[in-house]
């Protein structure tokens, strides 16, 4: 099955964005040594990302899927859309972390470089057409985020977060490898397309060993996107990690996880849809349940948002479960929307952080609306969006997913999902309640910065605009995935 391959320089072309990101990452590290003002470093990081974005855009100009490196790397609408999410993710993260990291005293070049490397890892995952590349991309992303989670190393919480994330991540990647090895053993290949055809020709769809391999891979991907029962790390890590990284992690790796999940399940294991759907359905239900229910008892807003992010993963997973392109589109759409609302919410959380004040307790938000009406209003928007109340984008995301789920015939799943979304509304409302309906205990001071304002403006605008005029995003998703 294996044939000689030659690699030409042309193969590098589709890789331009990734290379740009890596180069910028290196430049940032070097720059860190030269410039004193760390803002410059951050701006270079953003600029580099924009360059990469431009690269993707240029390559993206044609929806024709391209592959390079003997079919290990593909560039198609699917991957490009995910890359778009990653770019926005990193740009917004950098925007919100400026001041914050300075307060945390960790605003140095490596921080931005690691963000870029992590993003590169995600991009590779999104483009991976081979399990090896996928594994390496995943590790690149994972290792970078482990470090980022622990980057404020004077804080014990941060250390602990990194520690837990690392150990469980390594544990889960062992499972991934085990799954890959079984797949490899049965199909003789790691290329996704070849796996698909091998499954057909060798009639492996019913093989329990194949099933085992698939389950192990799902475990690993489920870990990355925090699906119950593999979500256990998420609350702790989200809480302990620096808030900007929490924002970054709650979107990026999750999206990357979905990218590979979609790629693997739809690309390689399309023939086993019945099997994997039957695995994922209880997982999705459990995820929504765990996320929505445990979040109710939380008092730390980061932790609450962590559970909320788990619950959201459950909704997104529904789209994958359908096994239809439409379902995948709905998931992807949800991810894009989730990016804005989640980072927006975290941005507000970050604003409360100031010298000597954590601002992570929900009680800290008491009476915020008195002193900061605008920030409160934005938080309100994000919270309602996360709860999926129209006319915010969160509703569009949920609606699309439910639509596809029902279209695929899983009405009961939709009903379960809406039930949990009603439950989850409670803890979002609680934040709003603290902001608007309680009197402040003490004066809340917000840490402001221009970049933060930009990030907030962008996220809030997108949440509202996409909530009312979702067509743009929907079309983008459609073209990206259907070509």
């Amino acid at each position: 099955m294996e044939m000689e391959t030659t690699i030409s320089l042309l193969d590098i072309r589709p890789l331009v964005p990734e290379l740009t990101m890596i180069c910028v990452g290196l430049i940032v590290i070097l720059l860190d040594l030269i410039v004193r003002k760390k803002e410059v470093v951050a701006i270079v990081g953003i600029a580099g990302t924009l360059v990469a974005l431009y690269g993707t855009y240029k390559l993206y100009g044609f929806y024709e899927p391209q592959s390079a490196f003997s079919g290990m790397f593909v560039l198609d609408g699917y991957s490009n859309f995910f890359k778009l999410i990653f770019y926005l993710n990193i740009i917004l993260t950098i925007c919100i972390s400026f001041k914050y990291m300075a307060i945390e005293k960790a605003s140095f070049g490596e921080y931005y470089a690691l963000l870029m490397f992590a993003t590169t890892g995600m991009m590779i995952m999104a483009s991976a057409a081979d399990l090896i590349v996928l594994y390496l991309g995943l590790e690149l992303m994972a290792l970078s985020t482990y470090i980022l989670a622990g980057i404020t190393r004077k804080r014990q919480r941060s250390n602990e977060a990194a520690l837990k994330y690392f150990f469980l991540g390594a544990f889960s990647s062992a499972f991934l490898l085990y799954g890959i090895s079984l797949t490899y053993g049965l199909t003789g290949t790691t290329n996704l397309r070849e796996i698909a055809s091998a499954l057909q020709t060798l009639d492996l769809n019913g093989s329990p060993i194949m099933y085992l391999g698939l389950i192990f891979m799902i475990v690993a991907f489920g870990f990355k996107i925090a699906l119950a029962p593999f979500h256990m790390w998420a609350p702790d890590v989200y809480e302990g990690a620096p808030t900007s990284i929490t924002a970054f992690m709650s979107v990026g790796p999750k999206a990357a996880g979905f990218a590979v999940l979609g790629r693997v399940l739809f690309g390689a294991f399309a023939g086993m849809q019945v099997q994997w759907a039957s695995i994922l359905i209880p997982m999705a239900v459990l995820t929504m349940a765990v996320g929505s229910i445990i979040a109710l008892a939380q008092t730390n807003i980061k932790r609450m948002l962590a559970y909320s992010s788990i619950a959201h993963a459950g909704y997104m997973l529904l789209g994958v479960i359908t096994g239809t392109t439409g379902g995948l589109m709905s998931t992807v759409n949800y991810l894009a929307i989730y990016l804005f609302m989640n980072i927006g919410a975290f941005a507000i959380v970050i604003m409360l952080r100031r010298e000597g004040f954590q601002g992570e307790n929900i009680e800290d938000y008491m009476g915020l609306s008195k002193s900061h009406p605008l920030a409160s209003a934005l938080m309100l928007i994000f919270m309602f969006s996360l709860a999926g109340i129209p006319p915010t984008a969160g509703f569009i995301g949920k609606f699309y997913v439910f639509m596809e789920v029902i279209k695929a015939g899983y009405v009961y799943l939709a009903i379960i999902a809406v039930a949990f979304s009603a439950i989850s509304a409670f803890f979002y409302l609680r934040v709003v309640m603290y902001i608007y309906m309680k009197d402040p205990k003490e004066e809340v001071v917000l840490t402001r910065s221009p970049s933060m304002s930009i990030a907030l403006a962008v996220t809030a605008m997108m949440v509202l605009i996409l909530g009312i005029f979702p067509s743009f995003l929907l079309n983008l998703v459609r073209y990206s995935i259907l070509g």
Binding site: I215, I218, V219, M232, I294, A295, Q298, I423
Partner: protein
């Protein structure tokens, strides 16, 4: 047309002006608006009466009120002989009472309000009477109830008054419940609510049945009984009579106008109006008659022992209304209307007279504390005597003619009729007794009130006495339009007048029978008088003795057969208790329990579940591993 519209409209305008501007501008001058309006109405009513008497019935739709699909009801007036008489009764008595009120209510804080309500009442009553369809009649029907509510509770700061008003309204609602359903059933049956159309088609559906909870019920009977429910409520018949005595909490002119002369007779009017329907249902007719008869005797027995002057008259009213229903039930519609008409005068007179007394005694209503007022208030005394003569049925006073007509008609109406006649006659005996008892206790003997009251005793001013005298004329002479045919050919003018609308009662008796009936009623009237005379003027210790001898009976009567207590125990208290304990409990503990319970449960679950998140690395790994294992176990081994 405008003329007829103006009849109700004038009082309505008076109401509007008084209620809107009374408080700040008109104040004590309210009667300058109300009295001319009602006098105007009266004059127009007379003119309308003349039109009708001239043979011109008026049936006119003014505008289309409610249109919904096939349902179409107009606001429109029907003035025929029946309503013309009612118009006269209502407007004439209103006029007198308005004038009386000028004096009676003088100086009251809510003077303007009083006249406003009275005007509104007249308007409502006129609508009730003039309506040409059931729904508009229902409008008037409820509106008079509203006015009654306002006027009973006129002195709203008194709890008893507020309670009485509320009671009157709610008890009436019980009746209206049936009435409203009857109206609906009429429309569903006839596809119209116009009297003319309904009555015209009534014959066609005689005998039709309708399935009600599995029983086949005669449609007409059902309709009539439902309508009659309304009448029972409004006209205070057993078992819904309880509100009327309490209604005496209102100012006396109100008692006279609303709770004696006009509103309470609306039920009688309504049944008379619906005679084409009632005629078709023997069951309904018998029900009406029996309810009437029972009420007549029932209320009369209570009146025997009451000590409150107005309450005696109130029970007397209930009793007299019973007579009217008795008449209706035996088909003597015109007799009922005749009695309604005479009763309006003498009963209004009694009330106003008692008002005059109460006024003089500064709101003392207990007859035990009166006595000997004859010399202080001669005019009042004499009009009282005239009214009493009339009500007890002493020949040639108006009450005699109407009551005699009823008893005679009852006598003619078969076995049931005989029984009812007996009841009626017995009631007449009681009536005579308690009426004279009232006179003796109030006007004869020694004054039993306080010394202070005695000093201020005086005859009422002319503004009060003049209406009394005018009413007295009515009390004496109103009956002369209905002299029985055995005394004078065409003496029964009123019966003949109403015959086109109400028909002429069937049944012929011999002269001997008629004299017998008449004699019996005269006999009992005189007998009652003599007994009262004996007991209250000659042997004044006798009542006490009797009361002691028949202690249980006396108590039963004095407490009005405990009907109020019964209702309180069986309806009011259970409702409140059910509301407070059962329903609110259900709401608070069960529904809210579930509603709050589910979130609480989820919350508790949440707090439990978060304990799984121990924070320990190995536990997390364990859960991941177990998760993977269960997936493998379930999907590979159990499949």
């Amino acid at each position: 047309m405008l003329k007829y519209t103006l009849i109700p409209l004038l009082p309505f305008l008076s109401f509007l002006i008084n209620i809107l501007f009374g408080r700040n501008f008109i104040k004590d001058r309210a009667h300058w608006i109300a009295v001319p309006a009602v006098v105007g109405s009266f004059l127009l009513a007379v003119s309308a009466f003349l039109d009708v008497a001239g043979g011109r019935d008026i049936n006119v739709n003014i505008y289309s009120w409610i249109v919904s699909g096939s349902f179409n009801v107009s606001v429109g007036f029907l003035i025929d002989r029946l309503s013309a008489i009612m118009l006269i009764v209502v407007t004439s008595i209103s006029t007198l009472i308005f004038i009386y009120s000028i004096g009676y209510m003088h100086g009251d804080g809510g003077y303007y309000r009083f006249f406003a309500y009275l005007s509104l009442f007249v308007f409502s009553m006129l609508i009730l009477v003039m309506a040409n369809n059931f729904l508009l009649m229902y409008f008037g029907w409820e509106a008079v109830g509203l006015c009654s509510y306002f006027l009973i509770g006129y002195w709203f700061h008194k709890k008893s008054a507020a309670d009485a008003g509320k009671k009157a309204f709610i008890v009436n609602r019980f009746g209206d419940f049936g009435f409203g359903l009857g109206v609906i059933l009429i429309f569903l049956t006839f596809g119209s609510m116009d009297y003319m159309q309904v009555f015209g088609e009534a014959g066609g559906i005689a005998g039709q049945t309708i399935n009600l909870l599995g029983y086949d019920v005669n449609l007409i009977t059902l309709i009539c009984l439902l309508l009659f429910c309304g009448a029972v409520g409004k006209s205070a018949q057993v078992p819904l009579h309880v509100w009327l005595p309490d209604a005496m909490e209102g100012p006396t002119p109100v008692s006279a106008l609303i709770h004696a002369a006009t509103m309470v007779t609306a039920g009688v009017f309504m049944v008379a109006r619906c005679n084409p329907l009632f005629n078709l249902s023997e069951v309904a007719m018998n029900t009406v008659a029996i309810v009437g008869g029972v009420t007549a005797i029932f209320a009369a027995t209570i009146a025997l022992v009451q000590t409150d002057i107005k309450r005696v008259i109130a029970y007397s009213t209930v009793s007299q209304l019973g007579y009217m229903f008795l008449a209706l039930g035996v088909g003597a519609y015109s007799a009922a209307i005749f009695h309604l008409y005479t009763h309006a005068y003498f009963k209004a007179l009694l009330f106003l007279g008692s008002g005059s007394v109460i006024h003089a005694l500064h709101d003392e209503q207990n007859m035990q504390k009166m006595g000997g007022l004859k010399k202080y208030m001669p005019v009042t005394y004499w009009v009282f005597i005239l009214a009493t003569l009339s009500i007890t049925g002493i020949p040639f006073f108006s009450g005699f003619f109407s009551k005699d007509e009823i008893l005679w008609r009852a006598y003619l109406a078969g076995d049931l009729g005989k029984f009812l006649w007996f009841l009626g006659t017995l009631a007449a005996l009681l009536t005579a007794f308690y009426s004279w008892r009232l006179i003796y206790l109030t006007f004869h003997g020694k004054f039993r009130g306080t010394h202070e009251q005695e000093e201020h005793l005086h005859e009422s001013p002319p503004v009060i006495t003049v209406p009394l005298m005018l009413l007295a004329v009515g009390a004496v002479a109103a009956g002369w339009v209905g002299i029985p045919p055995i005394f004078a050919e065409h003496g029964d003018k009123i019966g003949e007048f109403l015959a086109p609308v109400l028909g002429y009662p069937e049944g012929e008796g011999t002269h001997a029978q008629e004299y017998f009936v008449m004699g019996a009623s005269i006999f009992v009237a005189v007998a009652g008088w003599i007994i009262a005379y004996t007991m209250y003027l000659k042997k004044t210790e006798l009542p006490q003795k009797l009361g002691a001898a028949f202690q249980p009976v006396y108590k039963l009567l004095f407490n009005k057969y405990y009907i109020d207590e019964l209702y309180s125990k069986t309806i009011v208290q259970p409702t409140l208790k059910a509301s407070d304990k059962i329903i609110l409990g259900f709401d608070t503990y069960i529904i809210e329990g579930i509603v709050n319970g589910i979130p609480n449960l989820i919350g508790a679950f949440s707090r439990k579940l978060r304990k799984i998140q121990t924070g320990l690395l190995s536990d997390y790994g364990l859960i991941m591993a177990i998760g993977a294992l269960s997936i493998i176990g379930v999907w590979i081994f159990l499949r």
